[in-house]
Symmetry: C2
Subunit: 127 residues, 2 copies
DNA sequence: TTTGATATACGAATATATTCGTACATTAGT
DNA sequence: ACTAATGTACGAATATATTCGTATATCAAA
């Protein structure tokens, strides 16, 4: 079972992980461009964070050429799992149901999304 | 509309808020006892955090007697809303549905919980 | 009234996260 | 070959969160 993802990403790290999850391999420049669509940040700041992430094992990088290529090592699945269960414990008194309802109630899931969830719930029953 | 809850509690603060949400009014001692069921912590550490929370406006305290009485100011609802939407944005690419399914899938919601959610979803339809 | 238990206030140490300046290397264009 | 652009490495400043020691006040019991 390879290396664990006990490591919890910080907020900045999470922003970067998300980009890597979506885009796959990226240079620092690419990540940085995307990041700065939302917020201000210096290039070396992004670089530094990604370097630290590499040391922590959250990402891997290919340094064979001058411009390094980064990709996510932390699995999206595991990371989401971890953050979610932390939130459930921390803010929802351990009740997944409460969290779910809150999410559905406020975050205006679309009709499609709600249908998908219903289907999902029904499938759960048959296990 | 009173004071906003733009303030985001830290992890330690959240632990304390949860206790206050559940128990209502508490002394530092009471909160501390509950906290230390799960983890190690010095009394003055808990005290300090609660004092800082008061300064930040997360809690209010009654100092009329020697032993101060604390209660939550940050609403559970608002705080959950905020943390949840942050998580959805930060780790689930903005998709509430993905988060919900992840929550249901892994966090082993009980049969009762799942029933409650189904009911909830059906009610949503009629609005 | 002396002592012990319990309380708050406060300051400081430690840890962690974030930000960025500066130095230096490499590459591409002129 | 020189210069500008672009990249990494590294160290330091800043911000924030966490932890706890120590001083001091209050109260109750002996």
């Amino acid at each position: 079972m390879s290396s664990q993802n006990t490591i919890k990403p910080t907020e900045s790290e999470l922003e970067i992980l998300q980009i890597l999850w979506e885009k796959g391999d990226c240079t620092v420049r690419e990540v940085h461009e995307i990041l700065t669509q939302h917020k201000e940040a210096g290039y070396t700041t992004t670089l530094k964070i990604m370097q630290l992430m590499q040391e922590k094992g959250l990402v891997r990088r290919d340094t064979s050429s001058k411009t390094h290529i980064y990709s996510a090592l932390a699995s999206q699945q595991k990371t989401q799992e971890h953050l979610l269960s932390k939130l459930i414990d921390n803010a929802f008194s351990g009740s997944a149901a409460r969290l779910v309802m809150q999410a559905l109630g406020n975050h205006s899931a679309s009709k499609d999304e709600i249908e998908a969830i219903k289907k999902y719930l029904n499938d759960l029953d048959y296990k």
